[in-house]
Amino acid sequence: MSRRKIDYSAKIRRAAQLLLVQRHRKPGVKGWELKRALGRNYLEIIKLLDEELAKFGFKIKIVFQGEVDASKAKQEDYDKAYYVVTFREPAKVSDIISAGWRIDDLGALAAVLAVINSRGGRVNRRDIEKILGEKLPKWRVDYLIDKFLRFGYLEDEDGYLKIGWRARVEIDLDKLSMLILATPIKESKKSEFEN
């Protein structure tokens, strides 16, 4: 095996450790951290690791800081970006539920994120409480919003709710809104999930 090949495989292993083992409060690492550990060509290593992870159903997601078009991103944007390993395909409802989520928590999260996304990314907390209050009791609405804030799915800015870092990483927001619009409405009992 050539020296260059050995060097690359060692760096891929190092990159996998950096990305998969949680080192900070938030999972994932920043571009500059990868640059420091893997060298200037870290993006090549990341691409190779992504190909390896694809075999196991994972992918490396690059979340740029601010509104950056991925096709026009510069080296500086990649250095500031946030890298995290996610599932390559969407999760199954049963998998999410076995991870500790209730089905009505998931429904509420879908509603909150779709509303915020459609309204330009910032909505008054009271408006969200009103929408959720049509399907859930008040105490549960407050509990769920606080839970979403705590988990990073939402951010609070002076009483206005914004999409949080975790939602930007884990959820395809445009797909979510499109699916909501495309789903036919069924007659359902309101009390079905109120337990």
């Binding site: 995290v84 969407p90 999760a91 089905i103 509603a111 910032r122 206005y160 409405i185 069924k186």
Partner: protein, 264 residues
């Protein structure tokens, strides 16, 4: 310019500022603001502005309008480059879908983060050190304060003597205090500190305490006088109970009390 016209102009400029701020803060549709109309109004006003105050107000209005124009630009950019979805349609669909349907929808767009939480050698070392340095439970219990052996009781007279309780019915005390206030002020407004400060610090505190009750019950109003930098007690009729609820903090430290007593 006539005073009436000036007042009208001022209120229009203030309304322009407020409506612009409202749109920027709420993130609602910035095209609700008729920028052209606002600019036209401001152009007329700026020409007739003479005082510094009026010019500052006009400048504030222009600044707020420029923020709305910036927001309009962002909206156009966002809607032309991203997938635009009508918020009303999205909300209508959400209202009509069950939580179970919404849950299965979000699962189809959910790509969970994969990460592993591990114990690092350093964390293990810290944990071992903590455990080794932890004193035995018996030793830690010894540090707790010893329970009070004897419990004694005091009569109300003793508490009054030690100035830990007031003598008499509290409502009567408040009523008598109100009468004293009316006698002192002769029904006219008086400065809070003039009335409350006494040669005895404890009496001063008691008076401040009772004044707060009179204000709560609506027997008096407290108004701030910027000239004397003090509150004014305005006695009102006892029957008047319709008061707007508000909180006022007045500090009466020993230093402040001493300064006032010395200055007479």
């Amino acid at each position: 310019m006539a005073t009436g016209r000036r007042v009208r102009k001022k209120s229009i400029v203030k309304r322009i500022i407020e409506s612009c701020r409202y749109v920027v803060k709420r993130g609602s549709d910035p095209f609700q603001i008729d920028v052209k109309e606002y600019i036209k109004l401001l152009r007329d006003f700026i020409a007739s502005s003479s005082s510094v105050e009026e010019l500052v107000l006009d400048l504030n209005a222009i600044e707020e309008i420029s923020r709305v124009v910036e927001l309009q630009g962002e909206w156009v950019k966002s809607r032309s480059t991203k997938l635009y979805l009508d918020p009303l349609l999205v909300e209508w669909k959400i209202r009509n879908l069950s939580l179970k349907q919404l849950a299965s929808i979000i699962a189809s767009a959910w790509y969970p983060i994969a990460s592993i939480k591990v114990f690092t050698p350093r964390a293990i070392e810290e944990a071992v050190n903590y455990w080794l340095n932890l004193p035995p439970l018996r030793g830690r219990w010894d540090r707790l304060p010893k329970p009070v052996q004897e419990v004694t009781s005091s009569s109300i007279e003793e508490l009054i003597e030690e100035k830990l309780a007031l003598k008499g019915n509290f409502t009567e005390i408040v009523d008598q205090f109100y009468e004293k206030l009316i006698e002192y002020s002769k029904g006219k407004p008086v400065l809070y500190m003039d009335f409350v400060i006494d040669k005895d610090y404890q009496v001063t505190l008691l008076k401040a305490y009772l004044v707060s009750f009179l204000a709560t019950y609506g027997y008096i109003d407290l108004e701030y006088d910027p000239k004397s930098k003090d509150y004014i007690i305005v006695p009102v009729k006892k029957e008047s109970k319709e008061a707007v609820s508000k909180s006022i903090v007045v500090s009466i430290s020993t230093d402040e009390w001493l300064r006032r007593v010395k200055s007479g």
